[in-house]
């Protein structure tokens, strides 16, 4: 029982079900401006639509006030920073470092993040993964995807060396240097299986390439994404003798996750995106202000190209059903994702796998559930859209975020907040009295306000934390308000998801002295 319930626990509350079932999740229609309730009024829709239980009340009644240190400890629990040494003896790095953080809304959190430096090839990999219907798929991506990318990037010779080392039982030279928060974990039990799949992949890469060859970053990312998704699917079909692993691979395959990954090598920035995560570049204009340059397209109903693509991939008879209520088959919000075999496998295959699976699966009503109007699978792909950007000196930072961030803050706002944080408050316009009539009292009030704003910025050592503080705590004036913050963070577990989604952010800072002067490190 516990396994099954875990396997499907995510379904009702995440991205799967149509608004007909749970109208108020995800888009939170209750909150027209910012997707969050203005604290004073309980919003009009959800109490009627929700399966109301006695203890569920509006947050302003339910929540208790958190002190600023309590708020900080919640916000900072998952923060992580990594500084790249500017010159490691070999290369000048275009990346100065990154700040990352995540704030859970689901319990447990379904978002994942990864960051690693490629050791066999150049460059750094950063990614955010937004899971739905559980965290299993996102967890698998966070552990495995970068290895697939790293393998794809390796030249033929390196792959051969690797294979020879494994063959001879020699220790492998490390492939990735991970930059992990202590909460970012690996699934130990599955490592052997993961490794075997990876080895099969590189063996194929060896077979497919010839000496002196390696894939370019674009092809490498594409190949890695597709290969990993097919491995997830295959592992679920094959199963495993170990019953825990068997449950695990099914959980991974039946849950889903989006991925937004950046590969940065010198001035070359590649973004591979599958789903509705987003990569936004912070560009500093000549006047010092910041503007947003988006490097990925969201794969959801708001993207006309995506809607057209999906409709084009299926017969005209399904035109009305394949995208309903802005969801894939009326159920799924992201239009591309890893896992989610319910949208990929044929009905027979789904039934077959579930029947041969652990007994517990049969008891779950969801196992028998097949999406409506399911005629011409697959409906879903993990194929990423890949963008290349040549970094310029004015490109100051890259924000990778799951949709939990982007639905609360506009990208322009995100870039402004981060930009101002990174450049410090020195950018603020100095006050002058000029010829105005200002009393000492008025001035004091004004200065206190400015100080409060500045001190919030300095409260966080981590740009991602600072951004989350704004995403969660902004009041209607765009200023962080402790009361809002306190209410949003003290929501009971089962309510939090109604007001906000998991938020995961990685902010990478570029070294303006390095980017744009290409050739110095190659």
């Amino acid at each position: 029982m516990p396994v099954t319930s875990q396997l499907f626990r995510g379904f009702p509350l995440a991205k799967l079900w149509g608004s007909s079932l749970f109208p108020c999740q995800r888009q939170l229609p209750c909150c027209p401006t910012s997707h969050r309730p203005t604290s004073s009024q309980p919003h009009p829709i959800w109490p009627t639509a929700m399966p109301v239980r006695g203890y569920r009340r509006s947050p302003d009644l339910h929540s208790y006030n958190l002190t600023p240190p309590q708020v900080n400890s919640i916000l900072k629990a998952n923060e992580y920073s990594f500084k790249v040494p500017e010159f490691d003896g070999k290369n000048v790095s275009s990346v100065m470092g990154f700040d990352s953080n995540q704030l859970p809304a689901n319990a447990p959190i379904e978002d994942r993040r990864s960051a690693a430096t490629c050791l066999q090839t150049r460059g750094m990999l950063l990614g955010v993964f937004d899971g739905h219907a559980g965290c299993a798929c996102a967890q698998a991506l966070s552990e495995r995807l970068f290895y697939y990318v790293a393998m794809s990037l390796m030249p033929h010779e390196t792959l051969c060396e690797l294979e020879a080392a494994v063959e001879a039982g020699r220790p492998l030279s490390p492939i990735l240097q991970w930059h992990k928060h202590p909460n970012d974990y690996f699934t130990r039990e599955a490592q052997t299986m993961y490794f075997n799949s990876l080895r099969t992949y590189w063996q194929e890469l060896i077979d497919l390439s010839s000496p002196g060859e390696s894939l370019g970053p674009r092809e490498a990312l594409l190949s890695a994404f597709k290969r990993l998704d097919s491995d997830l699917s295959l592992e679920a079909q094959v199963g495993d003798a170990n019953s825990f692993l068997h449950y695990w691979v099914l959980r991974v395959a039946f849950s889903g996750a989006t991925a937004c990954v950046a590969h940065i090598d010198g001035s070359d920035l590649y973004v591979a995106n599958t789903g509705d995560g987003r990569a936004v570049l912070g560009v500093q204009e000549e006047d010092g202000s910041f503007s947003a340059h988006t490097l990925s397209n969201d794969h959801n109903a708001q993207n006309e190209n995506e809607v057209a693509r999906i409709q084009g991939e299926h017969p005209p008879s399904e035109k009305k059903t394949v995208v309903r209520q802005d969801r894939l088959l009326g159920l799924l919000m992201p239009f591309r994702a890893f896992g989610d075999v319910k949208f990929k496998w044929s009905i027979d295959l789904q039934r077959g796998v579930l029947e041969s699976g652990p007994d517990q699966l049969h008891d779950n009503e969801h196992t028998k559930f097949i999406p409506p109007n399911y005629h011409t699978p697959p409906y879903l792909t993990a194929e990423p859209e890949i963008t290349h950007h040549r970094l310029r000196p004015q490109d100051r930072f890259l924000v990778l975020g799951t949709d939990g961030l982007w639905e609360t803050l506009h990208r322009q706002e995100v870039v402004r907040i981060v930009g101002e944080y990174l450049t410090g408050v020195h950018q603020r316009q100095p006050l002058t009295v000029g010829g105005y009539h200002v009393t000492l009292g008025q001035m004091q009030g004004l200065l206190a306000e400015r100080k409060a704003r500045a001190s919030l910025a300095f409260q966080d050592q981590n740009a991602a934390t600072h951004l989350i503080r704004h995403a969660v705590g902004n009041n209607e004036f765009g200023a962080v308000d402790h009361e809002t913050l306190s209410k949003m963070l003290s929501l009971p577990e089962e309510l939090a998801r109604m007001y906000r989604d998991d938020i995961t952010i990685i902010i990478t800072q570029f070294n303006p002295h390095v980017v744009g002067h290409q050739g110095t490190w190659t």
Binding site: R428, P430, L431, T432, V433, H437, V438, T439, L440, G441, M443, Q444, L447, A448, R450, K451, A454
Partner: protein, 872 residues
């Protein structure tokens, strides 16, 4: 009003027109003279004050050069407060003199100075601040400057706006005043010009020419002026000007931005006579200004400026920074809530220059004769200018001022304090310190670990807590393992300090076993000659007889003409014509320049600073001889190695260690002067052999307690250029029995005839509860039979006597105007009291130390080991 202001074409807050009687305002600049006696650079309040006082002392051919207009620098923007509330007595004296000078300036010159004797109020928001104000009051009483410690209620009677709800008390200084600084500047310039001083504006000094260590000329953008003396009063730019001479002159100062606010007049205009308020806990000062207020402060996070030189920013284009001023504005409105409705006139940014120790820079520079400096006023330029100008003029006239200005002497610094990074960091600490509460034995935190002993790391890991002297790190005490370090470093108090027991244990170990103290910071010189030139020089400079057998150590003062101590040192005759001179740490520059000044130009006579070559370890305690004996296979007992001898010997594997039988404390033991490459080895050997004798590390606090309880005076603290050996009972260290004419001999002979009018005594506090009562520090008034008779100069708790011991000077009251001689009865028959922050504690006065404190040692019969120069 604004119109008046800007019609002058400059930014300034003072409205009065400035027009000189001399022809400076004419369109055609007067040609510069080709020669002068003195050239003063800087037409601010300091430069004009120097010119004024030189002229008053009869100097002629004085030229004052100003790169812009008179008073165009800090002076123009300064807040105009003349207060005597200053941290040290010499500064109080200068401020007091400035005050009376400015008061009578209008009368003398006819120039309006805006002088109003408003008085001032120093507020205390807490008991510790109140204590420090009471201590200040005690000091001012000694100088006869009126002041009253008052209750908060009386504050509101004196000032209509002050919110007194959070005050515990205040100090009222009725004599303090406000002026208009540019007008005082103008008045001083007018008076100086009247005495024949030539003033030239818009003339920039490019550099100062020198020959053979003497100033010869000044090069300006309008030609050169030959001169004998040059005075650098360039304020903010004094550092750079010092660097711009042939031989670089180190003027260690650095600018910080300083902000104050001007308000428009209050609805009910504030009277000009309203007292100045100094709310140091709120970090602000407030004075009445044109019916409104002028209020600035010394913030915790100052903004250093001009690090890279004068071309970076001109003083005229300084930006206001309201965000930076916010804490001070809040403090102001908290102190005077009624100002909330008052309108802002302007926020003024007026850079001030600060020095590494919060005191100004005065005097002749060590390397160059005739090059004088007066700068680095630490935001008190106006208050100090009068007095400082007078002292500097006296210095140039008589060779030394009429008061002890060692705390201000530029020779307390050397090149080592001249790093811009050091200055930048240090002034960021100094500026807030102006208004910080200063408790006994505070240390600077910035610019540390500059000079260290090779043993620094070893000692640090053993729990050493450090203080700094002349850039050198010295251990104060050693925290035993397991002590709560955090609380120890944090506590600040006027009462019993938290290191009391720690130092007590170190003292006990010195008395009963053996301790090792790293004393490498001492200044060490070697004077050698081919013939007897070295001896001849020292016989001339030192009061004591240096013609002793090789291997003898002589404690001696180096006296000036007046017989006062310029230095107090230990001299070892290492070879027949080679002497090793050990002086206090901060004598490095002063003693060097004193020796150089009196050295004949003889290539056969060679002086070398070897401070950096030796690590000095002080082994104190009865078992020191056992430790050394074991390490050298030589008997170190007093029979074989009597007190005050020096031998080169081996210690462990290291050979050539200078071992001296003295400890600077009166305790038995040895000083080891170790070539630095052997330092770690010798230290390790000493510690490992010493283990069975109970050896431990000790710090300067233990040393201090030991020397003060034995009545050892310390140069710079107890001894100064105005104190003679006779006044501190050191006649036995003066070679009266020879007929060698040493420097100061005549004055001493005269004094011996007349009798001394002040005497160094030791006071043992009675009825003083170490746990509960305030601790003495220094500068406390001494009363005899209820009558003020002197001040203390240092104090320490004696763990042996279990009493506080204060050292200080007393003088009998003069009956007929001429000083009365001190008699034994004056000391022995009198009820003495020491005033600590207004509370008097009875004390027993003594002329001689307790002989019981000296361990039984075999001494050279003619000499007692009474050494003298440990750190504070």
């Amino acid at each position: 009003w604004i119109g008046v202001l800007f019609s002058l074409g400059r930014r300034g807050i003072w409205s009065s027109p400035r027009r000189l009687a001399s022809a400076v305002e004419t369109t055609q600049p007067i040609p510069l003279p080709s020669q002068a006696r003195v050239v003063i650079c800087g037409g601010g309040i300091v430069g004009t004050s120097v010119a004024y006082h030189l002229a008053k002392l009869g100097w002629t051919e004085i030229v004052l050069l100003e790169q812009g207009r008179l008073g165009a620098g800090t002076t123009r923007l300064c807040a105009g407060i003349v207060s005597v509330a200053k941290p040290i007595s010499i500064e109080c004296k200068m401020a007091d003199y400035s005050n009376s000078l400015y008061e009578h300036l209008e009368e003398e010159t006819g120039v309006k100075t805006g002088y109003v004797k408003t008085g001032s109020l120093c507020l205390a928001q807490n008991q510790d601040r109140f204590l420090s104000l009471k201590r200040l009051a005690s000091r001012l009483n000694v100088m006869g400057i009126p002041c009253n410690v008052i209750k908060p209620k009386e504050v509101s009677k004196l000032h209509p706006l002050v919110n007194i709800h959070d005050l515990v008390g205040a100090l009222h200084l009725p004599g303090d005043a406000v002026v208009s600084p540019p007008d005082v500047n103008h008045a001083l310039a007018t008076a100086a010009a009247g005495h024949g001083v030539q003033i030239h504006e818009r003339t920039t000094v490019n550099h100062v020419m020198m020959e053979k260590g003497h100033v010869t000329a000044v090069e300006t953008d309008r030609g050169a002026i030959e001169c004998e003396y040059f005075v650098n009063c360039a304020g903010q730019w004094a550092y750079e000007l010092g660097q711009a001479s042939e031989t670089k002159v180190s003027v260690p100062l650095h600018g910080c931005e300083h902000f104050y606010l001007l308000s428009k007049p209050l609805p009910e205009p504030l009277q000009p006579s309203t007292p100045v308020v100094m709310d140091m806990d709120g970090r602000i000062y407030v004075r009445a200004w044109q019916g409104g207020v002028l209020s600035g402060g010394f913030e915790k996070n100052p903004k250093p400026i001009f690090t890279e030189g004068r071309n970076q920013l001109e003083i005229q284009t300084m930006q206001e920074d309201w965000d930076h001023f916010e804490p001070m504005l809040s403090a102001l409105l908290r102190r005077m809530p009624e100002l909330e409705v008052c309108e802002i006139q302007q926020l003024v940014n007026c850079p001030e220059s600060f020095t590494p120790d919060m005191r100004c820079l005065m005097g002749e520079t060590p390397g160059v004769h005739g090059y004088f400096v007066l700068a680095g006023m630490n935001a008190s330029g106006l208050a100090f200018a009068g007095g400082a100008g007078k002292y500097l003029a006296e210095w140039m006239t008589y060779g030394y001022p009429t008061a002890n200005v060692w705390p201000l002497d530029i020779k307390r610094f050397g090149n080592l304090q001249s790093s811009r990074t050091f200055l930048r960091h240090r002034v960021m600490e100094v500026m807030p310190l102006l208004y910080n509460l200063k408790v006994p034995r505070w240390d600077f935190q910035t610019g540390r670990q500059l000079r260290t002993s090779p043993l620094y790391d070893r000692l640090d890991t053993q729990g050493a807590r450090w203080m700094e002297k002349h850039g050198f790190e010295r251990a104060k005490y050693f925290i035993p393992a397991g002590k709560d370090l955090l609380s120890l470093d944090a506590s600040k108090t006027f009462y019993k300090p938290d290191w009391f027991d720690i130092v007590g244990a170190e003292v006990k170990c010195c008395k009963e076993a053996v301790c090792v103290i790293d004393m490498s910071s001492f200044t060490k010189f070697e004077l050698t000659s081919t013939d007897d030139q070295a001896l001849a020089l020292l016989q001339h400079l030192c009061a004591n007889d240096l013609d002793v057998p090789v291997g003898h150590i002589v404690h001696t003062g180096m006296l000036n003409e007046r017989g006062g101590y310029e230095n107090d040192c230990s001299v070892v005759r290492v070879k027949k014509n080679s002497f090793f001179i050990i002086s206090p740490t901060d004598q490095q520059v002063h003693c060097w320049s004193w020796l150089k000044k009196h050295m004949p130009d003889d290539p056969q006579l060679h002086l070398e600073d070897v401070s950096w070559k030796y690590t000095a370890l002080n082994l104190i305690g009865p078992r020191a001889m056992d430790v050394l004996g074991e390490l050298s296979y030589v008997s170190m007992t007093p029979e074989h190695f009597p007190s005050l001898f020096c031998k080169e010997m081996s210690v462990g594997y290291a050979n050539g260690i200078r071992v001296m039988s003295m400890t600077h404390t009166g305790e038995p033991g040895f000083m080891l002067y170790i070539p630095i490459e052997y330092a770690l080895h010798v230290y390790n050997e000493v510690m490992s052999v010493g283990q069975k004798y109970g050896i431990r590390n000790a710090g300067y606090y233990a040393l201090r307690s030991l020397r003060i309880e034995k009545f050892f005076a310390f140069w710079g603290q107890d001894l100064d250029p105005f104190t003679t050996p006779l006044e501190c009972g050191r006649e036995f260290r003066v070679k009266f029995d020879t007929d060698i004419d040493f420097l100061g001999r005549a004055s001493l002979l005269h004094q011996r005839q007349e009798g001394v009018s002040r005497r160094f005594i030791m006071l043992v506090l009675e009825d003083h509860d170490t746990e509960l009562d305030l601790w003495p520090w220094w500068g406390e008034p001494i009363y005899r039979n209820g009558e003020l008779c002197g001040t203390t100069t240092s104090s320490a708790y004696s763990y042996t006597l279990e009493r506080h011991v204060c050292l200080g000077f007393v003088s009998p009251p003069s009956l007929d105007g001429s000083p009365a001689a001190v008699t034994p009865d004056f000391i022995n028959r009198g009820d003495y009291e020491v005033d600590i922050a207004g509370q008097r504690y009875p004390a027993k006065a003594k002329l001689y130390p307790f002989s019981s404190l000296f361990a039984q040692q075999r001494r050279r019969k003619d000499e007692m080991e009474l050494s003298n120069f440990q750190g504070k």
